[in-house]
Amino acid sequence: MALQVNISKKFSGFQMKVEFEMDGGCLGILGASGCGKSMTLKCIAGIEKPDKGRIVLNDRVLFDSKKGINVPARDRHIGYLFQNYALFPAMTVEDNLGIVIPGKKKEKGPVIDEILQRFQLSGLKKRYPSQLSGGQQQRVALARMLLSTPEVILLDEPFSALDGFLKDILQNEMLEFIRDYGKDVLMVSHSRDEIYTFCNQMVVMSEGKSLLQGNTRDIFQNPGTMEAARLTGCKNISAIERLGDYELYACDWNIRLKTAERIEDSIGYIGIRGHTLIPVSQPGENTMKIRLRGVTDTPFERQVIFHNGEESDSKQIWLIQDKKEDIPLFIQFPKEEILLLS
């Protein structure tokens, strides 16, 4: 499977401009709510029309504004799993699946029974969508989509309607089903956890623009830009002044820091993830005396918010630590964990 997307569209007062390629596996688009992720999927599926650009799926041009090509959604062979699953409420499970299968009613029966069994839905044939649990609805929607034999599957915030425990189970289950069918997936999510867990490739989107594309682990490890760092969950970001090849001054935290990596001229910010900061008991290199601002406990970890203890107007920094540990007096910024950002 190969999908190339390069589109722009103006809507509700902002300009969307997205460019990426995928050639199989699972690609995730990570972006904040309202950044144009869902609109991107809708353009690919043919539900919305981009103003300009080109969409190509397996050498088939689906959209080309220059050549005036715009293949209707029904002929694109792109599966779309809607956030609310979009099961047809006036139809039973059986009919929801059957409507997708071409041919006579008699021929549909065995196909429906087989897919119901595969998706652990046997016995629910005669139920209406409103009589199903969230997980069952999702499986019916997935089964229905796979019956339409799509070349690629688009998932729009697939797990946002589910909560905690159920979510973890369903996430795994769903991706297993999709893998069973050998389909490639393009999903959008605002959850970095979801993208990290399921997508080998990712695109970072901010304010309608696709910022960068790459291997998911690489991007999380080295986001490269300030926006990407923020979207991948890095809360501690500071503007910098470059002092040398391996030394900088973090303006927001009022501290001189040494880095392991060479600081290029394009670097304007640094970031450091809260769980990579090291609590220490005495001053030293890359170490800051802290002034405690507050502590918030989540079920399994503690977030410590602090300021530079020697500079009153420095911005706050988050430390994430195990609950068993004590709140430290000093914090060390490990050289090799400092993210250099442009």
Binding site: K42, A45, G46, I47, P72, A73, R74, D75, R76, H77, I78, G79, Y80, F82, N84, A86, F88, P89, A90, M91, I99, V100, R144, M145, S148
Partner: protein
Amino acid sequence: METLLHTIDFSPLFLSLKSGILATVLTFFLGTAAARGVMRLNHRAKSVVDGILTLPLVLPPTVAGFILLFLFSLRRPLGAYLWEHYEVKLVQTWLGCVMAAFVIAFPLMYRNARAAFEQVDVTMIYAGRTLGLSERKIFWKIIVPMAGPGLASGTVLSFSRAIGEYGATTMLAGNILGKTRTISVAIATEVAAGNWEVAGFWVLVIVVISFLMVVLINLVSGEGSKDFSGWR
């Protein structure tokens, strides 16, 4: 009472039912199709087309009757054409009753259908498209069933309006006993002739039918509706 029933000519009842049912069938399909068509227009075109389609609802029926007469009179081009080529005549005929009832009842069906379609989540349409279904299948198999209660109440309302139609009917179809005299026309005629008992009988018939229809609407559209117990 017995003698009254024996003296009454029941043809207006059958005529009303017959033309009412036929007009309702027409209204159902054309009103639903019109609502679908209007839903696909952009906002500006929608306002104008909607205005035209709703007009018979707000105009006095005599005005609608006048316009129908103006179109279908044998002395006018359209009426003459229909008569010459298809031997179809609407003036002073039973077909005229159907046409008048249809035109007056149409906006009720159209507006109810449109309101019902507006309630349908558009993602259903998108989902149908991405699943490869034709627009026709999406509309008749997915949207119409979802809009079911609204369409049903529109149909019943149209029927009640159609069997009671008076103004446009007398203008276009006239008042010929056994041919174009429907119940509502009969009531006016009997009153004019001083036959209060007969007129009263027809009034009773219309009241009963209309009441049953309204109860029916409440039953079909109340099914599966929201919980209103908070109002009590």
